[in-house]
Amino acid sequence: MRRVLALAWRPLLLLVALLGVWELYVDLGGADPLILPAPHSVASSLYDDRALLWSNFVTTAQEVLLGILLAVAVGFVLAVAIHFSRTLRDALYPLIVASQAVPIVVLAPVLAFWLGFGILPKLVVVALVSFFSIVVTTLAGFASVDPDLIKLMRTFDSTRVRTFRFVELPAALPGLFTGARIAVAVAVIGAVFAEWTGSSSGLGYLLIQSIPQLLSARAFAAVVILSLFAIALFVLLTLAERLLLPWAHRPRGERSI
């Protein structure tokens, strides 16, 4: 707990200072509260609209979590395919890069027409914006294996599959986690975009409903929740990695004897 406090007090202090400046700016008439609500009205919206925010959060959280899971599955399979086959690498890699240049704002409505207004098009959008970093970091994990280790496995008469299972796959797992962590922030943005183009719930939907109604405090409250969600996911992934892959994390000072 003390360590958490030691780690958290500096960003918290900075945050409080920024909020203070923001509050003063709005209170002193620097901005119309309908356009930029003061932090205290965002805070009261967080409390007053808690039921509404919660039910919409549940929708968005589902989209983000399932979308990231889909991205991990697809990204991993693609990384393995690219790693194993030179031909697939040449064929797939340019297309994977190109897929990231497709503007989501264009794609999301098309997907909505195609896949309907349920959760499916949201999952596709979230997965599409998330899988790229997973492919790249997982491939970097495969490439991090020392070539001498592969030679060693060959002199052990290992099959290609066993070398993958015992050496390359474990070596790539930290990369998979890193990719998922990078994906978290874009996944949340992806879910919001997807909700804007056809949905009846979710924090993105709430955002696009609140702004024309001049409920800007509520819109800001939704953004606060989205940010906290992204931070929570990032921290959870980090903790899960330390738990599942303790060997990949070695604090300084704990050197070999």
Partner: protein
């Protein structure tokens, strides 16, 4: 990704030995050709420890990879019993315990985890690693890691061990300890050994025979029989005399 070639049954260089005959190996790189080995020859009889010493970049690693069947010669013949590599760095897998690292060669052959562990476990006591079975590689000292790495290669069961500067990364004290330990371990479990090193003293202390190589392109320029009783020490007068002989062959007389 490198595909493992289909292993053809290779001619044995005598029963369980190694015979490298006038082998040449050239690599093509962007800047032209690099001749790693030229008319290199070397023999190791069954159970013999041959140490190969030469300046850095003289094709020692290429020689070992030829013996292990990881490369093919451009000219000449390599006949060797099945050989296993022990790389310069220990290359232990950080996610496995010391015991499971030692099991890797067995697991690579498709042996179950339980069976591999029960096969590897008795060696820990013998190799001075008792009690460290469950330790992770970063918790082991450099010498212990090297011993686990050696055990891992040994448990492949192959008759020939190709050791690539196995103690180069260790500090002087640990290196001396490990040299003594290796001689002891090979006494327990006799194998045909080809050990390359750039340390002339190490070559004399460990080898039954020392092969001296020329700078690139590497070939054998001298062969020194070491008929000295073990354990040998760096400071022995006979060791020092042979060391002088090897240095002279390397062209580094003092």
């Amino acid at each position: 990704m490198i595909e493992a070639p289909v292993k053809e049954p290779r001619d044995l260089g005598g029963p369980e030995g190694v015979r490298v005959e006038v082998v040449s190996r050239t690599f093509k790189s962007r800047r032209g050709e690099v001749r790693a080995l030229e008319r290199m020859s070397l023999d190791a009889a069954r159970g013999e420890i041959v140490t190969v010493v030469g300046p850095s970049g003289c094709g020692k690693t290429t020689l070992l990879e030829l013996i292990c069947g990881l490369q093919d010669p451009d000219a000449g013949t390599v006949r060797a019993a099945p050989a296993v590599l022990m790389p310069q760095r220990d290359l232990l897998l950080p996610w496995l315990s010391a015991l499971d690292n030692a099991c890797l060669a067995l697991r690579a052959r498709g042996i179950s985890r339980e069976q591999a562990r029960s096969e590897a476990a008795p060696w820990f006591e013998r190799f001075g690693l008792g009690g460290f079975e469950r330790a992770r590689p970063p918790e082991l000292s450099g010498g212990m890691r090297q011993r686990v790495s050696f055990l891992r290669s040994l448990l492949s069961g192959k008759p020939v061990l190709a050791l690539d500067e196995p103690f180069a990364g260790l500090d002087a004290i640990t290196r001396a300890e490990m040299q003594g330990w290796l001689a002891h371990a090979l006494g327990l479990e006799s194998r045909t050994v080809v050990l390359v090193t750039h340390d002339v003293e190490e070559a004399v202390v460990l080898g039954d025979r020392v092969v001296v190589m020329s700078p690139r392109p590497g070939r054998a320029v001298a062969e020194i029989e070491v008929r000295l009783p073990r354990p040998r020490h760096r400071t022995d007068r006979a060791v020092a005399a042979l060391r002088e002989q090897a240095l002279e062959a390397l062209g580094v007389s003092e």
